[in-house]
């Protein structure tokens, strides 16, 4: 009965695994490496795993032989030995030697992954709850990268597309074959910027700027996820890196610069209520809706409702203050002054005061924000 049950269970397990997943080999291993470092890690893992498998087979081969042969039911009489200094010394020294053999390639791996010297370019990555900011300091280009999977897919109301939860509105773009130094930090809590195909995972820690690097060997789109618990939407802040040829990258960078100049709404202009609301809605959906919800209902008590809230329907100054400088009593509300520009801030506050069920009728102009920044 027992052996039947055992083989049945094992069979079920193997069948489940083979039917479900043997079709795609990479499901059983690390992702296909796209950098030298990732390749080293891949090889290191394979080596160590096989050494472990070999030891396992030998040790448990002996054990199961004993279980089979040295059974009472097979009439085996117990021996009485209980120590053997020679054997004990041997099985202390052999594992030690194996470990030294493993340590050598591992040390090499560490040294090469830590070598951030002489990069061709630098990007700065900042983690926010729950999005990434990519900054190209040499080019003056900076943008936020947020999940682009629609809410309806997450809520199972629409079919999920191929890159479900691994797609963003604005990926990080880098040229192929260039050594990219990545400076990683965070603004609120600890995040971790990770791209498995590049062999990179670097915690993003407020107050620290840590660095890592990669040199992508071929063009393509590579995906990872935030890898340090960072709150409610930790599972919804993917990392997407597009590797382009140098020519395409240059084109992209030129377009970014042009776009950044064109899109920027003039902070000195006075806008109408509808203009502010229209722009504010976009800002709200990108930055605020994750916590306060698209309807403004919030998720009390940590993420309060905006609909009819004392802040969104009360005095304007207090509303501007909490949006710009963060919640003094509730640390879950970040300070947006550094992330958003004057037009975005003015628009989103106006939107919150005149939509989501609120009708204060007042508006905030970019100039008011600008004045407060001084």
């Amino acid at each position: 009965m027992i052996s039947k049950l055992k083989s049945l269970g094992f069979g079920v397990m193997m069948a489940l695994m083979s039917v479900a997943a043997w079709a795609e080999a990479s499901k059983y291993n690390l992702q296909t490496p796209q950098t030298q470092v990732a390749q080293e890690i891949f090889d290191l893992h394979i080596l160590i795993m096989w050494v472990c498998v070999a030891i396992f087979v030998v040790v448990f081969g002996v054990m199961f032989y004993a279980i089979w042969k040295h059974r009472k039911s097979a009439g085996h009489q117990a021996a009485h030995f209980h120590e053997n200094t020679k054997v004990e010394i041997i099985w202390t020294i052999i594992p030690f030697a194996i470990l030294i053999a493993m340590a050598i390639p591992s040390t090499k791996g560490i040294l090469s992954m830590r070598d951030t010297a002489n990069p061709d370019m630098t990007v700065k990555v900042t983690g926010y709850q729950w999005k990434w900011e990519y900054d190209y300091p040499a080019d003056g280009v900076k943008f936020l990268s947020t999940l682009s999977t629609p809410r309806v897919q997450i809520e199972n109301k629409e079919a999920k597309d191929e890159h479900y939860l691994l797609e963003v509105d604005h990926p990080l773009v880098v040229p192929v074959g260039k050594k990219v130094r990545v400076l990683v930090t965070a603004n609120d809590v600890i995040h971790s910027w990770s791209v498995p195909a590049f062999g990179i995972k670097q915690d993003a820690i407020p107050g620290y700027i840590k660095d890592t690097w990669f040199r992508a060997e071929r063009p393509g789109t590579f995906r990872g996820q935030c890898s340090e618990l960072c709150g409610k939407d930790h599972g919804f802040m993917p990392v997407v890196v597009e590797v382009k040829s140098q020519a395409d990258y240059d084109k992209w960078m030129a377009a970014q610069k042009a776009k950044q100049a064109a899109v920027t709404m003039d902070p000195n202009k006075t806008y109408s209520l509808d203009e502010l609301k229209a722009h504010g809605e976009k800002v709200y959906m990108t930055h605020c809706a994750a916590c306060h919800q698209p309807t403004g209902a919030g998720m009390p008590p940590v993420f309060p409702a905006l609909t009819g809230s004392p802040v969104a329907t009360g005095p304007k100054a207090a509303h501007i203050d909490i949006v710009m400088n963060g919640g003094k009593k509730n640390p879950a509300m970040p300070a947006w002054a550094k992330q958003l520009n004057d037009v975005d801030l003015a628009s989103v506050i106006t939107f919150e005061r005149n939509a989501l069920g609120n009708h204060t009728g007042d508006m905030v102009q970019p100039a008011e924000i600008k004045a407060l920044r001084k």
Partner: protein, 530 residues
Amino acid sequence: MEATHALDHDHGHDHGHGHPTGLMRWVTTTNHKDIGTLYLWFSFIMLFVGGTLALLIRAELFQPGLQIVQPEFFNQLTTLHGLIMIFGVIMPGFVGLANWQVPMMIGAPDMAFPRMNNWSFWLLPVAASLLIGSFFVPGGASAGGWTMYPPLSLQGGISTDMTIFAVHILGISSIMGAINIITTILNMRAPGMTMMKMPMFVWTWLITAYLLIAVMPVLAGVVTMLLTDRHFGTHFFNAAGGGDPVMFQHIFWFFGHPEVYIMILPAFGIVSQIIPTFARKPLFGYASMVYATSSIAILSFIVWGHHMFTVGMPTGAQLFFMYATMLIAVPTGVKVFNWVATMWKGSMTFETPMLFAIAFVCLFTIGGFSGLVLAITPVDIQLQDTYYVVAHFHYVLVSGALFCIIAAVYFWLPKWTGHMYDEKLGKWHFWLSTIFFNITFFPMHFLGLAGMPRRIPDYALQFADFNKIASIGAFGFGLSQLILLVVVLKCIKGGEKAPGRAWEGADSLEWTHLPSPPPYHSFETPPLVK
């Protein structure tokens, strides 16, 4: 409950001053057997509480998309699952076994400080109520992970404070338990029982108790710093105030890694009792077992950095922590070889405790190997915070620690209750547990290698197959544990009468010198150990 019998028919004579009965008996008891029973039942109840949280997690992860719980609540589930399983199941489980067994195995009448013993147990339900109750306060339970990393944990609501107080209380309980165990072992051994004659379970608990005393205050300190950061304006972990969020991780893991061994060393001890018993052959390499256990305990203080490779330490620190971590494989290997050598040329039978012990040796070794893979810093960078780590620590904590507690319960149930348990049900329990355990956790290695982060409520489509398998396994594993409940209840109620020496190969004092069940007060005159 079983001791009630003993009390009734055995001890009308020796303590005529009436014991309280009913509930008050358990509230006021200072008897090591009663307190051991309380610890074990507490641990068992918390196993079902923590297991229910785990099943909610696995139900949500059965398929991509959000179906059952929202992300915020999901984070509460993972946090409380971790805290409850570690502090509510594994640690009290081992303390319960120590309470029952250590005095009987060293020939002592009771624990050294019986009243403190009572208090250290009764703190546990208080802490557990704080933890479980935190689900019902505004904002829900603590959602920053069992590791409570700031600054995220600084964002939490009142439940975070409840968790901090629960950790304080659990820490006090553990320290008192450890003091009691150390004092008992060092001072109350029967004449003739030298240190190197103590059963391995006693040895491993002695070392574990020292680890507890060394690191529980560290944990208490670090969560207190968290508390003052939250409420009293300190900035220990707030970079904006000149503090350092990484310092929390250093202090936490200085506690956390020895904690890992606190949860496994007593398991090593249990297996070292069970395997020789059912192999009918003395434990191979007793002395080297003692030295290996001590080496593991000492090494556990210098490896904490391996939990933090992705923080970005200096290269030299990464190398140091990698080498030190790899070194742990040597004494651990010695132990595994010793167990195999104990079985070699034995005369083995395979009752349920032995089955669990053998499964432990195999599956714990798989967890040890994945630990070795994770020790290699460059590989760890890929696998840190993925499901590979989840697979790794469930192999060492479920098939390691939990399987050993279960093995110990089967092994000593005949002693505690005076009845043999239902062997057929026991074997069902073993096979179902082992098979479903592997269906649950083995595929998680693949998920981690493919890059699925841990602690996420929803995942990309390529992770769907293995998650589905793992969820099926989890429900099978969880439901199988109900069999253990049936076995235990049946065994308490009745069953075949167990002789004093219920297992042919058992040779420690509780088997050779005491009837089953043992009298309420045993070894009032110490036995002589030759």
